[in-house]
Subunit: 130 residues, 2 copies
DNA sequence: TCAAGTGTATTATTAGATATAATACACTTA
DNA sequence: TAAGTGTATTATATCTAATAATACACTTGA
C-alpha cells in the first residue's frame, strides 16, 4: 500500500475499494478520531489529486460525499473545511459505529453466533488470547 | 424483500448486493447454522434460477463459489450436494467469523473505538440496553 | 435405449459503477 | 488581474454483474 503525505494528512490507497471510497473512509476516520481540528482546511481538490496521483474528479466525488455527511463545508474560491460543529462529528461517529455494530451482529447471526458468543470472543481478544 | 421457498430452503433477494453474492451468503449461513444436513442435495441450477426468477448463469456463479469454499460437491448429471465433512463446515464457520470480527474491529478502530469500547457496547446490547 | 434432468461451457449483449481526460466556468484573495 | 479555489460537462475506457440463447456431457429411471 503506497503511503502519501498531503499537507498534514497521511493517505494510503490500495485496490480493495473504489478510490473515492477509500478517501472518504480515511477522512471520516481522521475527523472522527479528532486528528483534524474543527474548521481546519483540507487539501484542495487539485492538490490531493496530484499528491495521490489520481484524477481530480475522483477527489471531487469523495469531497462531495463528505459534505453530504455534514463533516465538511466548502467555500467556492476558498477551499474545503472541516465543520465547526463538534456535535455533528460526535453524532456522525456514533451513528457509523452503530451501523458497523449492527452489520457485524447480523453477519455473525447469519453464521449462527449469538451475542453471548460474540461477547466471549471480544473478551478473548481483549485479553490477547486470540 | 421478496421471499422465495425453493425446496426446503428460503431465499430473500434485494438490491443491497450482487445476486450471486446474496445466494452464496444465504447458503453459507444455512450450512454453517446446520439447517441443511450434510450430504443433502440443494436445488438444481435451473430449479433455483426459476424459483428466484433469475438467470441460470447467476446461480452457477454462486454454486461455483460454494464449491470453492469446499461447502458443496457437484456430480455431473446428479446435482449439487452439501459436503459430508462436518470438519470442513466447522472450519469454514470459524474462519468466516474470524474475518468478520477482524474487519469489524478494524472499522471501529478507524472511528476511534478501542476493544474496551467495543466490549462495553456489546455488553449493553446483550443486556437489551440499546 | 432414450428422454428427462443434471452440471458445464461459450458467445453475445446490456447496464451500471469507477476512473480518467480535457475543458470551461464561477468565485475569492493577495 | 493572476493564481488558486470549487464546480460542471462531455467523452472515453474498463470492469463487474446480469441476462440471453445455445450447446454439450453425464446420470438415471422408465
Amino acid at each position: 500500500m503506497k503511503e502519501h503525505e498531503i499537507g498534514t494528512l497521511r493517505f494510503g490507497l490500495d485496490l480493495s475499494l473504489p478510490l473515492y471510497e477509500q478517501i472518504v473512509n480515511q477522512m471520516r476516520g481522521s475527523i472522527a478520531r479528532g486528528e483534524i481540528a474543527l474548521g481546519e482546511k483540507v487539501p484542495s481538490v487539485r492538490e490531493l489529486a496530484q499528491g495521490l496521483k489520481i484524477n481530480p474528479n475522483t477527489v471531487m466525488s469523495a469531497y462531495k460525499e463528505l459534505e453530504r455527511d455534514g463533516l465538511t463545508e466548502t467555500r467556492r474560491g476558498q477551499g474545503t473545511f472541516i465543520t465547526h460543529s463538534q456535535e455533528t462529528v460526535d453524532q456522525f461517529r456514533s451513528e457509523w459505529a452503530e451501523k458497523a455494530i449492527d452489520d457485524f451482529i447480523e453477519k455473525m447471526d447469519n453464521l449462527g453466533y449469538s451475542l453471548e458468543d460474540i461477547s466471549s470472543i471480544i473478551q478473548r481478544k481483549k485479553e490477547g488470547r486470540v
